[in-house]
């Protein structure tokens, strides 16, 4: 029970991007009679610690990062702000393949998550009956083992000469994926396919839980009504179920894509030097190469690209939602 509650509130979290503009306003109105006198200072007192915390440890670091990205110098002589904007151009020029790869891998993983996660979310929300809680626990349960250990387990599963490789080889799947450039020779590890599968695995629950939450809210009687009006099963799905689960799809894809685009663990553990993503570059520039200006510029670029994509996506998803 407790686990499902956790997942429930976790699920509600992502809906902020789309729904925040009106939902809290409405509820604040509703809440106001509950708090009868508006004691002027109280909200500020309650908020002050958290807001100060986020200002000092979230916004100020962003400013520092911006200033670092405009510095030049060396570790020995120290860095100085010289408004060297070319760092951005140089960094992007040198590492655009990794950025493109990040977006490609994260996009593919998000799509795979949607395709894999939708049937499971549907199964849990609509068909599972008394198995619902058990299935939900099984979706959340993998979280309890450390993320890194589970990713390492994929290394064992996909290992060269292992069962999976042998099976896929015999089914000639590896020939197909090899021709597509997803794998090389008869191995899975250190290929783009392994990285995308790892990313998909890592963020699949973030897709399933919001999907489940929105499918769970769909009134079953709507399906029945559509059926009674002679809609075919595909039509019921396309015209009723899918549009009603759209909020879940939007928040699920966001919750998958955003972390996947910055991930460097899967690319490091399951990939090779040819599958390095933007996160890998940022990590190595910051922690190994110690070229802080370039590293900060790359990090800023990643943030800008992701925020831009997410904003465009939310806009489009939002309007589509209204049109329907």
């Amino acid at each position: 029970m407790s686990a499902t509650k956790v997942s429930g509130s976790e699920v509600r979290a992502p809906e902020i991007p789309g729904g925040d503009t009106n939902a809290p306003e409405v509820s604040a109105d509703r809440a106001r009679p509950g708090a009868p006198t508006r004691r002027g200072a109280l909200p500020y007192v309650l908020l002050l610690p958290a807001v100060l915390w986020l200002l000092v440890l979230f916004l100020v670091p962003m400013v520092y990062q911006a200033s670092t990205s405009l510095q030049t110098g060396s570790l020995e002589e120290g860095f100085e702000v010289t408004w060297h904007v070319r760092t951005y151009a140089d960094a992007f020029g040198a590492y655009w393949p990794q950025f493109a790869r990040s977006l490609l891998y994260a996009g593919s993983a998000t799509l795979l998550c949607l395709v894999l996660g939708y049937p499971l979310a549907y199964l849990i929300a609509v068909k599972a009956g008394r198995w619902r809680h058990t299935l939900l626990v099984l979706v959340v349960a993998p979280f309890f083992t450390s993320f890194l250990i589970r990713t390492l387990a994929w290394k064992a599963i996909l290992a060269d000469g292992g069962t999976v490789v042998a099976l896929l080889d015999r089914l000639h799947v590896l020939d197909v994926t090899g021709a597509l450039g997803w794998t090389e020779g008869n191995r899975l590890l250190a290929t783009p396919l392994a990285v995308v599968c790892g990313l998909t695995y890592s963020f699949l629950p973030f897709m399933i839980l919001p999907l489940y939450a929105s499918l769970d809210r769909v009134d079953v009687r709507l399906h029945e009504a559509a059926r009674d009006l002679y809609a075919s099963a595909p039509a019921v799905f396309r015209r009723v179920t899918l549009p009603l689960s759209l909020p879940g799809i939007v928040s699920g894809t966001l919750l998958t894509f955003i972390p996947a685009s910055g991930d460097y663990i899967n690319a490091e553990l399951l990939g090779s030097t040819d599958t390095r993503m933007a996160g890998n570059v940022i990590q190595s520039q910051f922690l190994r190469v110690l070229d802080y200006p370039t590293a900060a510029a790359l990090s800023f670029l990643l943030m800008a690209v992701v925020l831009l994509l997410v904003t465009v996506y939310i806009r489009r998803a939002g309007t589509e939602d209204l049109v329907r």
Binding site: P24, L120, Y122, T145, S146, R150, A233, V306
Partner: protein, 319 residues
Amino acid sequence: MSGTPAPTPAPTSALAPGQTPARRPTATPAATTAPRGAPRRRRRRAGPPLVTLAGLLTLCYLVLPNLVVLLFSFNKPDGRFNYTWRRFSADAWTDPCSVAGLCDSLALSLRIAAWATLGATVLGTAAAFALARHRFRGRPGVNALVFLPMAMPEVVMAASLLTLFLNLGVRLGFWTVLLAHITFCLSFVVTAVKARILSMDPRLEEAARDLYAGPVRTFLRVTLPIAAPGIAAGALLAFALSFDDFVITNFTAGSAVTFPMYVWGSVQRGTPVQVNVIGSAMFAVAVAAVAAGQLVGRHRRARADRRAGTPKSWHEVAS
């Protein structure tokens, strides 16, 4: 089971045959003559189990690594690397702390997670009440400030925190990790608690006040108990996030070694079997806790039903 096209039917094609073809509606009116409950069951059973099958395959994909971790915790590898199965051995289970540094890193992770949970929960709950219950100037700004940390890749936040610490000349270690963890857990706690408060019926508080409870008493006896599950969920989430965090810790830890840092560091020289033992033990403890919680909940509900005189199946109908 590597996520290749095999188990990935497109959602439309997977769900379409999951229900029945078009001639089905003609059968629906006939079902009304059947006893109660029959139509629903018929409909569920009527569709070929394609959706169910696809869903269960996804579930296997999700659970498979945990099973592999468990399996390899009983392995006795020949070399340093624990990626191929050799022979059964329970050595690692009998002595999980025999590897240098492993249990120290675990203790450090637990300590950081505990403090981070406390900090984030206190700060976040207060902020959530203010955001959910009060209107004030700058509310949209605060909402954005809370939301933004969740809307960007973790590595960006980690990198910005590192630049802050570097520029201020702070020595990296326990404290920088703790500060960073509270920062990223905070938003999740605020969101979880806020959702709970917003879903609360304000009439309950009005009723309490109508019954002459003062604001403090109303808060302590009505508001807080109702918000408690949200706070607990937020705290649990914060603990899990902090305990399992690698990216932000990687950037802010300096030479401090948390459990995920230990695992990461051990990849090159060969991860010890004991890491699998700890991973499996965490899994087992968590699943047992969930199962126990379910049993207690069911027991409590059953007792409440008996006291209220409602039939046992009432809750099943309602839920």
